[in-house]
């Protein structure tokens, strides 16, 4: 038997196998209706909800951290100068320190040689 005939025979065998399989294929309507009942019930909304809950918890955690820091901090929160360059921040804190100490520090330093 040459190669072409062998290939033909293999194809024939596979065709028979296919016919046998197709006899036992489930009806299309059954699978389609099952799919219709499952369609649209994606898991994504649940995932989105979980992510949203995690973000909300994170925000609450950060906010509670900030408020507790404000309560404990010796420097008033308004003096923290958020978003201002570090040099300006330093200047602000020096002024505050001078206010608190009553100008003693600056006077003392001026008296030094």
């Amino acid at each position: 038997m040459n190669q072409n005939e062998e290939e033909k025979k293999i194809r024939e065998l596979f065709r028979e196998l296919r016919r046998a399989d197709e006899q036992f294929a489930p009806p299309f309507a059954k699978d389609w209706n099952a799919a219709l009942s499952h369609a649209g019930k994606a898991r994504r909304p649940w995932r989105v909800f979980r992510v949203a809950a995690a973000v909300a918890m994170l925000i609450v955690f950060v906010w509670s951290g900030i408020t507790s820091y404000r309560a404990q901090s010796p420097i008033p929160f308004s003096h923290l100068a958020w978003g201002i360059a570090s040099s300006e921040f330093n200047r602000g804190s020096e002024a505050w320190f001078d206010q608190q100490v009553g100008g003693l520090k600056t006077d003392d330093t001026r008296r030094l040689p």
Partner: protein
Amino acid sequence: MDGLELRAQLEKHHCEGYGWALCCCHRDPLEAENVLQAVYVKVLDGKARFDGKSTFKTWLFAVIRMTAADERRRKIFQWRRWAPVEKGDLQVTMKERPDEEIYRSELQILVRRALADLPRRQREVSQLVFYHELTLEEAAEVMGVSIGSVRTHYDRGKKRLRQWMEEAKVFDESE
């Protein structure tokens, strides 16, 4: 492609799709049906869309192949978590397959065994070319690999099938 046309196309290729799903699921009929339903859900949800770049059949077969791979991965994960339960379920499904027993002729058993013995890529190419009568180009599209790779797998698979059938004396009986 509108909904009605899509449904008609899916219905037209349903039996062939089932045959391909069987191949992708190690010939487990329940698993193959699950995969087919999962494919239809994907189509209905718009997760799998036919863009017309290939034929409908090759597109559908590619979706079936990917869905079967997803199911396989999901099953491995489930098996790791609830191994004893899954094992029991599998035994039940193996027993509940009297239909398989009915139509199994000796020759079909031989062909199935020969197919099952092939490595996965060779089995897939052989199934697509001999069983579904696709061209090598179409098989490459379904499998998402190059035509050269498909040709290699096809030649090796065919050679092994021929050897196997010669050993089983399939050719002698038919003459």
